[in-house]
Each structure stands twice: as structure tokens, then as C-alpha cells.
Subunit: 106 residues, 2 copies
């Protein structure tokens, strides 16, 4: 939560985790986070997951092009597909354009 | 995760909880969720918070006008302000327009 997000493009990943293969999931999540941070236009990530296994991850991008490149990145897509049914019971991806924002403390 | 979000407006609330007043916070969160669901243009909510106290709540709205009306709703604003320093160490609000989305299973 360290910059103004207005004008950035968000890739929002909502997912319900299965109860299995925590080590495999953790390794994949770490790889994906490191990969994202090396992509052009990367502006950060916020992520959380509750005890019920439902999680939300938002990655922030300079523009729509860099966000869509990330969503379609071959290794990113591969890991998302690998996770189907193994790590994820279900997931949703939403791409969105930030039109305004503010924070407290300012 | 029950509809296509493309074209909807998102109000994204990222917050770091303090460790105090769980009952007061829970009551306020319940009130706010019920209030949101009664507003015009409401299209649902997704929310999660991890053990570290960091949470993300996304409410979905039919259009920008209903999203901004919700962000500025007097009782909503009041509770957000009440929470400053009591329930929240910090928070960020981002309003965003969903440009595309997909889910698995489809």
C-alpha cells in the first residue's frame, strides 16, 4: 500500500484452495510472485487468504498491455492450469482499470 | 464467484486490522455488509482476511455511479472513519472498472 493506484491496471485473482499439497502450492506461489516482479510494468502485489482457503491476490500494472501480458505469460498460465483441481477448487480472474483511490493514513 | 464481472465497477478495500476490539469490528463489518447489499446496483462482495490481519474486500457494482454512491454512503463513511486507528492500522480504497474476466470451472 505504498503508491497511488489511479491509472494502473489490476489483475485480480480470487481462488478457493483445496486442502491438499501445501508444499507444492507454496513453491508455485513463490515462483509466480518472483516471476511477476520481474515483468515489465509490474507495480506491486497485495495478497491474502483466510483460514477457509479463500484468497484474493491483486497484482498492479503500469497499463493494460503489461497486465494482459502477465495474465497470458506462458509460465503463469501453465501454473494456473497445473493448479486446477490440485491447488484450486475454483478461481476467477478479473482485469480492471483503477479510476481512483485513496488511503489512510494519507 | 457467480457471474461475469466485465463492465462492473469494483470498490476494493485493503486494510490492516489492529489486534483490538474484535467484537466491535465484527458487528460493524456485519452492519456494513448488510447495508451494502441493500444499495442500488449492488452485485455482490468477496472478502478475505489472513491471520496477519491484512484483508481485502471487493464489492461489485452495476456501474460507476452506484459504486461511488456506496463509497460515499454516509453510514459507510462514518464506520470507515470510526475504524481509523481502532479497527484499522491503515487502509486503502481503490475504485476500478472491470474490463474482462473469466473463471474456472467456466
Amino acid at each position: 500500500m505504498d503508491q497511488d493506484r489511479t491509472g494502473q491496471t489490476l489483475v485480480i485473482f480470487l481462488s478457493a484452495r483445496t486442502a491438499v499439497d501445501d508444499p507444492g502450492y507454496a513453491a508455485a506461489a513463490e515462483e509466480i510472485a518472483a516471476l511477476a516482479a520481474r515483468q515489465p510494468g509490474y507495480r506491486g502485489v497485495e495478497s491474502t487468504r483466510g483460514l477457509d482457503g479463500f484468497g484474493i491476490t491483486i497484482s498492479f500494472w503500469a497499463d493494460a498491455a503489461s497486465a494482459l501480458a502477465w495474465r497470458s505469460h506462458p509460465r503463469h498460465s501453465e501454473i494456473r492450469e497445473l493448479g486446477r483441481g490440485r491447488w484450486y477448487e475454483s478461481y476467477e480472474v478479473i482485469v480492471a482499470e483503477a479510476t481512483r483511490g485513496y488511503r489512510w493514513p494519507g
